[in-house]
Assembly symmetry: C2
Homo-oligomer: 337 residues x 2
DNA sequence: CAGGGGCGTCGAAGCGCTTCGACAGCTTTT
DNA sequence: AAAAGCTGTCGAAGCGCTTCGACGCCCCTG
């Protein structure tokens, strides 16, 4: 293993000079710099991460806590993780992958050991156990998602309230009057992850303003469950012509059953989905949808942390404005026969 | 920040004693151990990762290189990543997330800097640029996937050859004679990732032995593309009654179009998928499938590395035997009318 | 009862790097 | 012409931990 000292010797300078060449924290003459860089290349030198971390009390690592469960939004999680990793690298940081399993202990461990300089927390619950710890440490962190109390925290998320509103607005503009919302599994609502409720609240509020009727049904299970759900929706509100789906697993069953019941999409009913673009594009009808801006959130989180670590930046909550992409699943409401 | 020295002082022992309590590398009397542990708890001590890494030249970190592209097997990647992270934790390791983007440079950086003690590499290509580096370092590594030359490397993967064979066997036993394989996108075959070819080879060999006809079609695109593909398959081999699908994106289009053409699954045609269980279960027909043992591979990789780091274990290639789960998409071949 | 051998503990020497103060040799200012 | 200020470099002090050799103590053996 090549050390700083060896590089210094090879270049005929002192160790500190090499260090300053590497960090750029003091000015170095062009000739010296070149000589050192040459030596580094020639010897194939890589600074030792541990020594660096010890001496500078900076690990150049950002911790990313992803949820353990793989039942929801997997592609989104993955996309965020990848965006975080690539963005971090462009700023000279590496990413440590933590699972939600350890919970608050992971936060304690990472902040306590100096393993990471900062932390990104995904899958935040409304009353998350990790929040007090994050507030109590001076290590910067960003939540992806929104807890009940955001005081003293930095958060990014899609503006799910606006998303819900945007979906009804789109349907209303097309002339739809009765709207059904196919939501996440009941467990998601019970877990109080927040985003599901926020969507619904935003959607309902806007629907009320626009004078639309809304029926909300959580969904879980297979085709049978969807058949049941649909049956009940049309029993209760036969005039339902607009659907908002916030549940990846519900997309195909919904489309298949509508087709099977002779309700054409988008001629008879319109469907708006809240899902990753990949899902929207791969569905059997290309879905008009509001995308989850996974990349954007990942990138923002890292950039915010880097700014904080460099002494810039401050706490705040950033809600990303939803964007609705019109595809083939929405159209004008059918005129009464 | 609490240091070892402070704990030592608080407990009235020397720093080295505290260190030995922590590592267990020398025997410590029960009373001393208790006193030290008590102090650790009371002061909320966490060993500093950098100092530890520097002094012991062990970072207790395993690097995981995941592919950058998110177009294929996303849930599998995610599952592996999570399995790796959780298994690593049970052995006292953390996981560093690297994307394939950096390629060989990432390998150099990690091995050179001592950032990680070992490395797991996913999405291995047949002639992967990273292989020479992995062979050339004394840092242990495990590949998830199989390159062309496995000499001097440790690899885990599903036995895709056997998987292909298993699929035809299942269909043959049910009386099917003509089989169509819906494969990955052409790009996957061109990229020579290996697994797709291996599946096909195993499948074809077994089909030849059993006297079955096989038609292979890569698939990419939407419903239209699938309609075209299916049309050509039935034109060329009207008697096709068995399908093997190795492409997550192809599953729903295939099922939808078969349904639409009046071919009932499994009464008229049988479908076997090679995909994660989640996909098989959520499809509109619960699919008979061979699962990708993501968790098992992740766990194996970590355990192998830990063994190596502890001086046990050796290089070898482990192919996990495929397991076929019968669900609702396969049945006896229809008898000729 | 002396000598040998565990066991449990300690002190000290680094691990490879960053960073602070010092200082030599300049240039600029007064 | 002396004082002041830069610029570029160096030496040395640590960062918090691991680990090796040393050593005191007690128990066992001959």
């Amino acid at each position: 293993m090549v050390t700083l000292a060896e590089v210094a010797q090879h270049a005929g300078v002192s160790a500190s000079t090499v260090s300053y060449v590497l960090s750029g924290k003091r000015s170095i003459s062009a000739t010296t710099r070149q000589r050192v860089e040459e030596s580094i290349r020639e010897l194939g030198y890589h600074p030792n991460a541990g020594a660096r971390a010890l001496a500078s009390s900076r690990s150049n690592i950002i911790a990313l806590m992803i949820p353990l469960r793989t039942d929801m939004y997997v592609p989104v999680m993955m996309e965020i993780a990848i965006a975080v990793a690539t963005t971090a690298r462009t700023h000279g940081y590496d990413v440590l992958l933590l699972t939600g399993e350890e919970g608050p202990d992971a936060v304690r461990r990472v902040t306590g050991s100096g393993l990471a300089d900062a932390m990104i927390v995904m899958d935040v619950e409304l009353e998350d156990e990790r929040l007090p710890l994050l507030r109590g440490t001076d290590q910067p962190s960003v939540l992806i998602g929104l807890p009940a109390d955001t005081g003293g925290l930095t958060c990014v998320d899609l503006d799910f309230g606006a998303t819900g509103a945007l979906c009804v607005e789109h349907l209303a503009r097309l002339g739809h009057h009765d709207i059904a919302v196919i939501g996440e599994a009941p467990a998601v609502y019970e877990r109080h992850t927040g985003f599901a409720e926020r969507t619904l609240d935003g959607l309902r509020a806007r629907a009320r303003e626009l004078g639309l009727g809304v029926l909300h049904r959580p969904y879980e299970g297979g085709y049978d469950a969807m058949a049941l759900t649909l049956g009940r929706i049309f029993d209760e509100r036969p005039g339902t012509t607009g659907f908002v789906v916030q549940n990846e697993a519900a997309v195909e069953p919904l489309l298949a059953l509508l087709r099977q019941q002779g309700r054409a999409v988008p001629e008879d009913v319109s469907v708006v989905a809240i899902c990753p673009d990949q899902v929207a594009v791969q569905a059997s009808v290309r879905l008009t949808s509001v995308a989850i801006p996974a990349q954007e959130m990942g990138r923002y989180a890292v950039e915010h942390l880097v700014a904080k670590l460099e002494g810039r930046g401050s706490d705040d909550v950033v809600l990303i404005a939803p964007e609705l992409t019109v595809r083939a699943s929405t159209g004008p409401a059918p005129t009464a026969p």
